[in-house]
C-alpha cells in the first residue's frame, strides 16, 4: 500500500511554501503582533484567491472540494510560517462542520462566501474557554450541550482575553442562540470537529517545530565559538538530532490522523488524539532545545525565534492538551 502523498499534494505544499515565504514572513507576523486586530484582510483575500480558504469547500459551493489529507501539508506550512490567519478554524474545522452538520440553508448561505474569502469562521467546541479570532469572525460555530449552532456576527459578542501569542488573539464569547441558529447535526458532528481541530493543530505544531529546528540548525552552522561553528559540538548535535526524531515521528501521526478523518475510519478519534499528543510533546522538545541552542539571543524581542516559541506554547493547549488527549485515549482504548 502506498502511503505517500501524491505529486499534486506535494505541488500544493510547494506552492503554499512559496506563498507563505512571500506573504507571511517573520516580519509580517511581527507586524500582526503590533496591529489592532492581529489580522490582515488583504492576506486573507490573497489566500482565498490562491485557493487556501476554499480548499475544503465542496465544488458546488465554489471551493476545491478537497479533504483532510490534501490539507495536512498546507497546515504544516502555515504552522512553519506562524501564519496569523485562522486557516485552521475556517478551512480545517468550520467548513467540514458546516458540510456535515449545517442545514441546507446554512450551507448555501455561508460556504460560497467562505470560499470567496468574504467570511471568516471560528468555532467553540467541547466547552473550550477561549475562542480564537472571535473579533474578526463572521460566523461562530458553537457546541452547546447536544446542539450545534451557527451564529452570525451580529448575534455574538467577543471580549478580549490575554493571549501569550500576540498574533493569535483569544476571546470569550456570549452568543444569542435560538431555533434559527440551530444546525442539523449535534454532538457526534461536534466530536468529529474537535478531532479535526486536534489533528489540524498537530499539523500546525509539526510545521512550527520543523521551522524552529531549521532556523536553529542554520544558526549553529553560522554561530562560532572556540573558533568553530557551534553545530560541530556533539552536545549541540545531539539536541538537534533528538528534536528531529520526535518531530518526524509526530508528522507521521498527524498524516495518519488526516487519512483517518478523510476516510471516516473507525479509529479517527484515537488517531487525532495520538497526533495531538505527539505534536505537543515534539513541540515542547523543539521549543526547549531550540531556545537552549540559541542561547541568550533566542529570547530577545529582536530575534524571530520567539514568534514561533510563543505560537507553539499557545497551540499546546488548543483543541486539548496532551494530558486531556491521553485521558481521552485511555477512555476509548481501555473502557
Amino acid at each position: 500500500m502506498d502511503f505517500d502523498f501524491t505529486e499534486e499534494q506535494y505541488a500544493l505544499r510547494d506552492a503554499a511554501r512559496d506563498f507563505f515565504a512571500g506573504e507571511s514572513p517573520a516580519s509580517h507576523v511581527r507586524a500582526m503582533w503590533a496591529s489592532e486586530t492581529g489580522r490582515s484582510p488583504e492576506l486573507w483575500g490573497k489566500m482565498a484567491d490562491t485557493g487556501f480558504v476554499g480548499l475544503t469547500v465542496p465544488e458546488e459551493h465554489g471551493g476545491l472540494g478537497l479533504g483532510a489529507v490534501d490539507l495536512v501539508l498546507l497546515l504544516e506550512e502555515a504552522g512553519a510560517a506562524a501564519l496569523p490567519e485562522p486557516l485552521l478554524e475556517t478551512t480545517a474545522i468550520g467548513v467540514p462542520l458546516l458540510v456535515e452538520a449545517g442545514t441546507e440553508a446554512q450551507q448555501k448561505d455561508w460556504l460560497p462566501r467562505i470560499a470567496a474569502g468574504d467570511a471568516v469562521v471560528t468555532v467553540q467546541l467541547m466547552d473550550a474557554p477561549y475562542v480564537a479570532d472571535a473579533h474578526i469572525a463572521d460566523l461562530l460555530l458553537l457546541h452547546r450541550g447536544d446542539a450545534l449552532h451557527a451564529v452570525p456576527r451580529d448575534r455574538f459578542a467577543a471580549t478580549a482575553q490575554p493571549s501569550q501569542d500576540g498574533a493569535r488573539r483569544l476571546f470569550t464569547v456570549e452568543a444569542e442562540t435560538g431555533d434559527d441558529t440551530r444546525m442539523a447535526g449535534g454532538a457526534a458532528e461536534a466530536a468529529a470537529a474537535w478531532d479535526r481541530g486536534a489533528a489540524g493543530t498537530a499539523a500546525l505544531l509539526n510545521g512550527l517545530s520543523q521551522r524552529m529546528l531549521d532556523v536553529t540548525v542554520a544558526y549553529t552552522k553560522d554561530r562560532q565559538q572556540f573558533g568553530r561553528p557551534v553545530g560541530s559540538f556533539q552536545a549541540v548535535k545531539h539536541k538537534l538530532a533528538e528534536t528531529l526524531l520526535v518531530v518526524e515521528t509526530s508528522k507521521a501521526a498527524a498524516w495518519y490522523a488526516a487519512l483517518a478523518l478523510a476516510e471516516g475510519r473507525a479509529d479517527r478519534s484515537e488517531a487525532a488524539s495520538i497526533a495531538k499528543v505527539a505534536a505537543t510533546e515534539a513541540e515542547i522538545v523543539a521549543n526547549r532545545e531550540t531556545l537552549q541552542v540559541h542561547g541568550g539571543i533566542g529570547f530577545t524581542w529582536e530575534h524571530d525565534l520567539h514568534l514561533w516559541l510563543k505560537r507553539g506554547k499557545a497551540l499546546e493547549s488548543s483543541y486539548g492538551t496532551a494530558t486531556q488527549h491521553r485521558a481521552l485515549l485511555a477512555d476509548r482504548l481501555f473502557s
Partner: protein
C-alpha cells in the same frame, strides 16, 4: 490572439553550481526550477490574456524529459498548453543553437507574440530573444518594462541607461521583459490541479526541421574554454575608533570622497 512563452529549466539560483568535464553545467546534481525571469513573461502574457478575450498562451520549453516539471509549473499559472522540444542531440547547444531550435518549433505554429524573460539565471547571455527574432525574421523589442497591444501593433517601453525608449512594432513580434514590468502572481491551487491535464506537444529535432549536425555541444558556434570560480570576497578595511566617533567619521568621509560619493 496566440502568445508563446519560451521558458527555461535552470538550476536553483541559490544552489552551488558545478561544471561537468566538458565544461557544461552539471544539471543533475542540483534542484531545477523555472527560470525566475520567465515568471515575468508568463505574468505579462496572462495579463494580456485577461484583457483580450480569446487569447491563448502556450509555454515552450527546450529540454530533456525532466523539463516536464518546469512545463507543469509554467502551466500551473493558468497557461493553456505547452510545446516541448526534447532530443538527446540538443544537449550542450549554445544560445544560437537553442534560438534555431525554438524558431524551428515555431515554424508551423500560428502566433502573434513571443514573450520571454530577458535572460536565464544560469547562462545569462541575454542573446536568445534577439537571436530568435532574427531566425524568425520578426521585430525584436527587448528589455521591456511596459507592453501595450493595440490591434496589430505592440508598443513597448524599453529600459535604457538613464531613461526609457518607446518603440512599436507590427505583430507578430518577439518581446523580452525585465523585472520592472510586473509582480508575478502565485499559481492558484486550481491552476496547479489543472496543469496536469493541459496538452503538451512533444517534438524532437526532426519535427522542428533540424538534425543533430546543426545543434549540440559539438556544433555550437561558441566554445567554453575555461571556467573559473568567482574569487572569494576580500576582507574590508577595519577602522578602530577611539570612542569619540571622530576617527571613524573621518575614515568614512575619506572613503566616500575617494570614491566620489561626496
Amino acid at each position: 490572439m496566440r502568445i508563446i512563452c519560451p521558458v527555461k529549466r535552470v538550476p536553483d539560483t541559490a544552489a552551488k553550481k558545478a561544471v561537468e568535464p566538458d565544461l557544461t553545467l552539471d544539471r543533475d546534481g542540483v534542484e531545477a526550477v523555472l527560470n525566475a525571469n520567465d515568471e515575468w513573461s508568463i505574468e505579462e502574457a496572462l495579463r494580456i490574456k485577461e484583457r483580450t478575450p480569446g487569447t491563448e498562451v502556450v509555454v515552450l520549453c527546450v529540454g530533456p524529459e525532466q523539463a516536464q516539471q518546469t512545463i507543469r509549473k509554467a502551466l500551473s499559472y493558468g497557461l493553456d498548453g505547452a510545446i516541448q522540444v526534447s532530443d538527446p542531440g540538443i544537449s550542450g547547444s549554445d544560445a544560437s543553437g537553442i534560438a534555431s531550435i525554438v524558431a524551428g518549433a515555431l515554424a508551423d505554429e500560428e502566433f502573434d507574440l513571443v514573450i520571454m524573460g530577458n535572460q536565464s539565471s544560469d547562462a545569462r547571455t541575454m542573446l536568445l530573444p534577439a537571436m530568435l527574432a532574427e531566425y524568425l525574421d520578426l521585430p525584436a523589442l527587448t528589455y521591456c518594462t511596459k507592453l501595450d497591444i493595440d490591434g496589430d501593433t505592440v508598443r513597448a517601453e524599453r529600459e535604457m541607461p538613464g531613461g526609457h525608449q518607446v518603440v512599436e512594432a507590427k505583430l507578430p513580434a518577439v518581446v523580452s521583459v525585465v523585472e520592472a514590468i510586473n509582480e508575478p502572481r502565485y499559481p492558484s491551487f486550481k491552476g496547479i490541479m489543472a496543469a496536469k491535464s493541459k496538452p503538451v506537444v512533444v517534438k524532437d529535432l526532426q519535427d522542428v526541421g533540424l538534425d543533430a549536425e546543426m545543434v549540440g555541444l559539438e556544433h555550437a558556434w561558441t566554445q567554453v574554454l575555461e571556467v573559473t570560480p568567482r574569487p572569494p570576497r576580500q576582507a574590508g578595511d577595519k577602522v578602530e575608533d577611539d570612542g569619540s566617533g571622530t576617527v571613524g567619521a573621518k575614515a568614512l568621509a575619506d572613503f566616500l570622497v575617494a570614491r566620489k560619493f561626496l
